[in-house]
Point group: none
């Protein structure tokens, strides 16, 4: 059976950019365009040339795309001038992209009130703008703004707008649910009516928003009805509640029925395997914490409960998983603290270079230790480096490099010589290395700004200031992230600190500390980070 | 036209609790149950009595609910014993709730492999367990685990399981898409088939998961097909990608067609107005950052772009909004137009006993100050007491009671006389009260257990140890909760501390502090808490 072609259109760089707090730089847009192209997206909408300096610069330095068609966005020409003489439209076409998408009105109320032009003038604007694009040899797309509300208010006029674009040669007419208020069943019914009225499904696109949490379902309903282009953004980025989430739509369309056998897309299996990485790239550019619970690509998307579920999963993953995590570049997480976890534990230890024989009773001891400490607040799923150290300690394979005798931190707030209130932290750490006692002191001031960075930085700086023969191993190590969580509340609060460290070789590792005292919890995590680095880099043990 | 009754079933406290990292305390569950009841939810599933200490304690101290039916969760009896003699089931029924929901298998493959019992034994387990509940006078619900996969594998057997529950007297049979893999169109088709096979729609519930980002749409598809109970959680909380999000479903079912005219629910318009607050309560309990982009209740859900959109919105909000934000307790955000903000601010200040004339230019200054400080990391929605203090300061109406000259905290970890490693914190605070300098020192040891409670407790104890004439106002005040969040990451981390305080009169108030130094951020929040208490209790100003 020949499969029908379904096209994917990404608007992360245009509609996604409209989001509050999102401000891509040109280099960000170039990296994202390359990642979208690497997935196999058919159209990458890069922005609105002329609307702002970043968008103009991006098109001026347009990346070379292998598969995707770079698309510029703009609006249909204004009334009272020709398409050739509209300077806003000229800025869009001058970007020189092979495809151009123009938004126009199809809701009679918006035409007469917001634009203040006659219904006939609006039809002419659509017709002449699209004809202008095709005359320039560009692939033309027409974005029908507020289409569903427009259709409900005046179906005849809304359809006339679409027909004007179609007849002028638009490759695609895109039905936009601009305010996100149309529910999937209605999107399906109206899409069917549009096709019945003579706009072919293979020239019809769908653009939904998530204001009722139905953007993905709305897009699927339009595909079910016959639309063959799906618009959306990575991670559902977009104003208000976001756009349709391509990160969810792509695996559904490729992996799940009735879509998988019916459609051919530009995204190959190989591209699909890069989906999680593309999702994380956007988070990294936006400096956002990745959503653990994101469908398909979230860290928890394939995390299973302990007990019955986990043991069933080990026997046959299809019992509790609707797709295989590796297909989208994700991984399965089976909690360690369960009976079925021993083989999983051995695999994890092997990955960390710790070989343990099958059936070694130490495996059960490690699982018990992990469980007991997780009940006390430790989080070893997040802190893999501390997990390795705990396993080594239980196995009697934890090398000793140094011993911490004591530490002290002083945090003081008072007036400085200029009479300003300032805060200063100072830490003293006393360690024993190779039988030598070493005392180190450090403050918390950033060397560049001279601003206080708090007690944890001071402690970390003091501990890593002089570790004798081990010092060389720590020169390229730095703290990159720090998360604090209060586990119980009130007077019995326990603090959990998760720390991410990085070194010059690009290694990144996470450690955890737990204490009623936030400074002590932080110190534990810092000490673990140092210890892990020494082991991983093969530092000689004390006495070696 | 008579409207049909549609029932809402919340499982935040049971299925939501299964989420990685979610660990409700009994008091949290009680607060959430009350909030759900206040919305008008019909069933509040509180947990699994006997499965863990928190759930057992919650049912032992069950809150009195006005509208909602408190429901206990459990599983159908095991094979080889009677329902009366199954101790797991007994723990569930002994909780004494008016309704009990039991999960059971309906997928033949799971019955024979996971349970290892015959298909007939499984039917008997369902039948006898449900009959046992009805014999005890309880309302019985049957959760059909993996129903959709089971129906696809063996429709006859899956339907037999439902019929067994129905015939044994189950008020509700709930179709569960346990692994979240069934798409809405298929959920709709299978639900219709179930009804056609003799399970009446008004005894049929739907329970979906968000693994394809279609949980909300799947629930709506089942309602379209005839199901009359919808299960979900606040904010879509749940394992993997979460459960169906009631925070999105409720407004859709109440406000949007075809549902609004067709159905009657337990949620009134008044309850709906508390939806945003209920959503935030859960975030607060979980110490999560509220999702700005959440449909209906997110801070950005009704945030409009500047320019054309915003001016159209001012003329007629229906042009760009599919529902009105205030209906769900949310508010519209229009950039560069704070007319709506000022009247809202005046109302808030009036609630705090701070009267400001309409049009007072101080209102604009307060909004600017709030905005600037929120950009720096403060969170005034959560810290109303600090917001009041900020407004008073801007208005020049902040009384001075005392001045903090300086403070110092020392945190030390070392061996004690018995050779054990111990941590100790000590704080010194120097304040001026009525021209007198007062120095106070306190350590961090819990008077009862002699355990270290960390630097924030030591600082708080020192500050409130001797405030001269104000001391009497502080005797009944205590710290009850403490939340820490790192706002930026890496070396430029800013720490936000939110503090909840309580007094003997049952007042509870929240304050905030922000600093690169976690101890300093905590001190700011403690100082604000003291200041608010003195103002609220009418302490005389300095010199009065």
């Amino acid at each position: 059976m020949t499969r029908e072609r379904l096209y994917l259109f990404d608007t992360t760089l245009r509609d996604g950019q409209q989001t509050h707090g999102v401000d891509f730089r040109t280099a960000d847009k170039q990296r994202l365009a390359a990642a979208l192209d690497g997935l196999g997206i058919d159209y990458v909408e890069g922005g609105w040339p002329g609307a702002n300096p970043t968008d103009s610069e991006f098109f001026a330095q347009a990346p070379a795309l292998g598969h995707a068609t770079l698309t510029a966005f703009g609006m249909t020409k204004r009334a009272g001038r020709s398409a050739e003489n509209d300077d806003v439209l000229a800025a869009v076409t001058n970007a020189g992209t092979p495809a151009v998408c123009l938004v126009g009105k199809t809701h009679d109320f918006h035409v007469t009130t917001a634009l203040g032009v006659s219904l006939e003038e609006n039809l002419a604007n659509i017709r002449e703008s699209v004809a202008h694009l095709t005359a320039l040899g560009r692939e033309a797309l027409f974005d029908a703004e507020h289409f569903f509300d427009g259709y409900k208010a005046n179906p005849g006029y809304a359809l006339q707008c679409l027909a004007a674009a179609r007849d002028a040669g638009a490759r695609w007419v895109v039905l936009c649910d601009t305010n996100g208020g149309t529910l999937p069943a209605e999107i399906g019914a109206i899409t069917r009516a549009v096709i019945a009225a003579g706009i072919p499904g293979d020239r019809l696109g769908i653009h939904t928003h998530n204001d009722t949490e139905n953007a993905v379902a709305g897009a699927l309903a339009a595909v079910d009805a016959g639309a063959r282009q799906v618009q959306g953004t990575l991670n559902g980025l977009g104003e208000r509640c976001g756009n349709a989430n391509l990160t969810s739509l792509i695996p559904t369309l490729l992996l799940k029925e009735p879509y998988a056998s019916r459609f051919e897309t530009g995204v190959t299996r190989e591209g699909l395997g890069r989906l999680r990485a593309a999702s994380r790239l956007l988070d990294e550019i936006l400096n956002r914490v990745p959503n653990r619970h994101a469908p398909y690509v979230g860290a928890s998307a394939f995390a299973h409960k302990a007990g019955l579920h986990a043991s069933a999963i080990l026997k046959d993953p299809t019992t509790y998983e609707h797709v295989a995590p590796e297909v989208v570049g994700n991984e399965r997480i089976i909690p360690m603290s369960n009976q079925a976890g021993q083989s999983n534990l051995r695999r994890r230890l092997a990955e960390a270079g710790i070989a343990v024989e099958k059936g070694d009773p130490a495996l059960a001891r490690i699982l018990e230790e992990v469980k007991a400490r997780e009940e006390a607040g430790f989080a070893y799923d997040s802190a893999r480096a501390s997990f390795e150290l705990l396993a080594r300690a239980t196995l009697g394979r934890l090398p000793r490099f140094f011993d911490v005798e004591r530490y002290r931190v002083v945090i003081e707030r008072r007036r400085n010589a200029s009479g300003e209130m300032v805060t200063l932290s100072e830490a003293v750490v006393v360690v024993h290395v190779e039988g030598e006692k070493v005392m180190s002191v450090s403050d918390s001031l950033d060397p560049a700004t001279h601003e206080d960075q708090g007690p944890v930085n001071a402690l970390s700086a003091a501990l890593t200031k002089d570790l004798g023969r081990y010092q060389a191993y720590l020169e390229d190590m730095r703290l990159v992230d720090f998360k604090v969580r209060i586990i119980n509340s009130g007077t019995e609060a326990i603090t959990r600190v998760l720390l991410d460290s990085e070194d010059g070789r690009g290694q990144r590792w996470s450690t955890v500390g737990v204490s009623a005292n936030i400074v002590d919890a932080s110190f534990q995590a810092v000490a673990d980070a140092v210890l892990w680095k020494l082991i991983r880099d093969g530092a000689p043990k004390a006495g070696e």
